[in-house]
């Protein structure tokens, strides 16, 4: 059965989704268990697949038994296998961490939410592992459509934001589809490996030899940029993620942009070769400028925000700039940085969005509500510190290493503006998070006055500290904290495993001659 692992990563999610839907009428109480079981099964299969791929080398799975150019194939190489494990793990963590949140956010519609959630995860995982350009489009739509729906529930503006997201997302997906059409009209194939071979034959000396192929690349890029919210196409992203209910944002926000960046990398590596993809200097320069602008824009807009989740959304924008910029530095280090950052950023944003969900529940998401956070929610706050340190780029957290590779790529490519933007963004991140820490460390909770008289005598210390708020006063139950702690710890673990990840995952899929 090990040969069937690629499909077994996705099948549980599909069947889980249908079972949960039917379960609405048949076994309502067990629905949550069924959904988490499906996620866990998928995660287990992904991990097994990753282990298998890392030990035995890449595998190609023929769906329907048809060999690749004719049928659709699943390509499980080290990169996609690891990405699968990350995506399913992230989804599992989110799901486990937000049980109570889901039940209160979507009363009476739990099972619909579970089904949408599972299908969204299935879509994202499919995107990661598919080897067919058109299948990718369908999966993008699966992932996106469920995203639109689950992001629509929330505060007053959520609906409008979600509709905007739908418009922009469909536009991006359609642009991608158009780009695939360009490729198809020039090559007659849809399979990525096949496409790569034919493109190599058609334009032996880079994409600039063919207007149509260069245009295909441009259109696909435009579509992906729209989907991942790169700077000029970003306006939907903060709105969509910050107004929705917390579990939806915690699922969609970490996954979508990262998976799209993954698609970008996939496109560079498996459809166009890196040489071809970087072959049009004008496009490279333009994209680097956009990425730099995205980093700066995201960082400085984040400075202006007054609530945690909104701030995270803008940080997300600048992280998108990291990934896109790194992919177009045109050297090995930059691409390594992008790939590594996809994983690292997935963990970081997951951690921070889970923290944001907890904080919103416990104290309220606005900065002004977070006084005394370190006493009221120590575990959550600790996770926040870890996530923040990683975002700032403190070693040994994983955020440091992606920044390391990106910076060294930028320096090697002599793209000093991008390097400068990276450094500035790190500094701004430090400011952003330490602002929160200060509030949490020094500030008093808004309702502190009511607590003051019953607290222990304040004269003990005599210093101006915010006084005795009981420890753990607003902390979440352990069921929500355990996944969060796991994710936060994984930031360090991943940082320490950087060498292995680069050696086992990134190096094998980069072409050997890449400078």
């Amino acid at each position: 059965m090990t040969g069937q692992l690629p499909i077994l990563t996705i099948a549980p999610l599909l069947f889980g989704a249908f079972a949960v839907t039917a379960g609405r009428f048949l076994f309502r109480r067990a629905n949550y268990a069924v959904a988490s079981l499906a996620l866990a099964a998928s995660f287990a299969a992904s991990v097994l697949l990753a282990i298998q791929i890392l030990t035995h080398g890449p595998a190609i799975y023929f769906v329907g038994g048809w060999p690749p150019p004719v049928g659709i194939s699943y390509v499980a190489d080290p990169l996609s296998a690891l990405m699968l494990a990350f995506v399913s793990g992230a989804a599992l963590c989110t799901f486990l961490a937000s049980k109570s949140e889901i039940e209160t956010s979507y009363p009476l519609k739990n099972s619909a939410f579970y089904a949408l959630f599972l299908l969204a995860v299935a879509g994202h995982m499919g995107i990661v592992v598919t080897g067919d350009a058109f299948n990718l489009y369908v999966l993008i739509e699966v992932a996106a459509l469920s995203g639109y729906a689950i992001l629509a529930q929330g505060r007053e503006r959520a609906m409008l934001s979600s509709l905007n997201y739908l418009f922009v997302g469909s536009l991006g997906a359609s642009l991608y589809l158009l780009g695939v059409g360009y490729l198809y009209i020039m090559t007659g194939s849809l399979n990525m490996a096949d496409l790569s071979a034919i493109i190599g034959r058609l334009t032996p000396d880079g994409l600039s030899g063919s207007t149509a192929l260069a245009a295909a690349w441009g259109v696909i890029l435009a579509g992906l940029f729209v989907k991942m919210g790169l700077f000029p196409f970003h306006s939907w992203l903060p709105a969509a993620y910050s107004f929705s209910a917390a579990p939806a944002a915690a699922l969609v926000a970490p996954l979508t942009t990262k998976v799209m960046a993954y698609v970008l990398v996939r496109m560079i590596l498996s459809v166009f070769t890196p040489d071809a993809a970087w072959g049009v200097p004008a496009i490279n320069t333009l994209i680097l400028v956009l990425a730099t602008a995205a980093i700066l824009y995201g960082s400085f807009c984040a400075l202006a925000q007054r609530s945690l989740r909104k701030m995270l959304c803008f940080i997300l924008l600048s992280e998108v700039g990291y990934m896109v910029g790194g992919a177009f530095l045109g050297n090995r280090a930059g691409l390594t940085g992008t790939i590594y950052h996809i994983f690292a950023d997935l963990l970081m944003t997951l951690c921070l969005f889970l923290v944001a969900a907890n904080i919103e529940r416990g104290t309220g998401g606005r900065f002004s509500d977070m006084g005394g956070l370190f006493r009221r929610m120590p575990v959550t706050a600790a996770a926040l510190v870890l996530g923040a340190a990683s975002m700032i780029g403190v070693p040994p957290f994983c955020g440091f290493f992606s920044k390391w590779y990106l910076l060294s790529g930028a320096i090697a490519a002599e793209s000093y503006a991008f390097a400068g933007a990276l450094v500035i963004s790190s500094l701004v991140n430090a400011v952003l998070f330490f602002r929160i820490f200060e509030i949490g460390f020094f500030g008093a909770p808004p309702d502190h006055t009511g607590q003051a008289d019953q607290a222990e005598p304040a004269g003990e210390s005599g210093h101006g500290h915010p006084g005795p708020i009981p420890f753990f006063r607003d902390e979440m139950p352990p069921a929500r904290l355990a996944p969060l702690c796991l994710v936060a710890a994984s930031l360090v673990v991943m940082g320490l495993l950087t060498g292995q990840i680069v050696r086992l995952v990134v190096d094998p899929i980069l072409p050997p001659g890449l400078g």
Binding site: L178, Y184, I185
Partner: protein
Amino acid sequence: MHELLAEFGNKFHYYGYFAIMMIGLYAMIAKTNLLKKCIGLGIFQTAIMLFYVSIGAKEGAGIPILDPAVGTADPAAYANPLPHVLMLTAIVVSVATLGVALALVQNIHRDHGTLEEDEILQRLRGK
């Protein structure tokens, strides 16, 4: 000039599709009414489908269903079925998207009483 015309004659359909695509895009960018945006999205997606299906067209070829009278399958005699399959999928996806969009539009109208995006934003800002 003549060559240009010939070129145009050979490629006119592409220009037509791009024109339709741009009409849809214009509606999505410039129109403030949400349903109009939905329509624009539909137009945009349809243009891409047209583009695909035209790839499958083949001179002197019939519909991509085996003619029992002929019996053998000569690739030149049948249109390319692959784009048709792809676009079947795309049509379904676009209908699905339309359904979700309409659901969202209805809820927005229920909450705000209007479908004009600028008015809704104004209301939200006013609060």
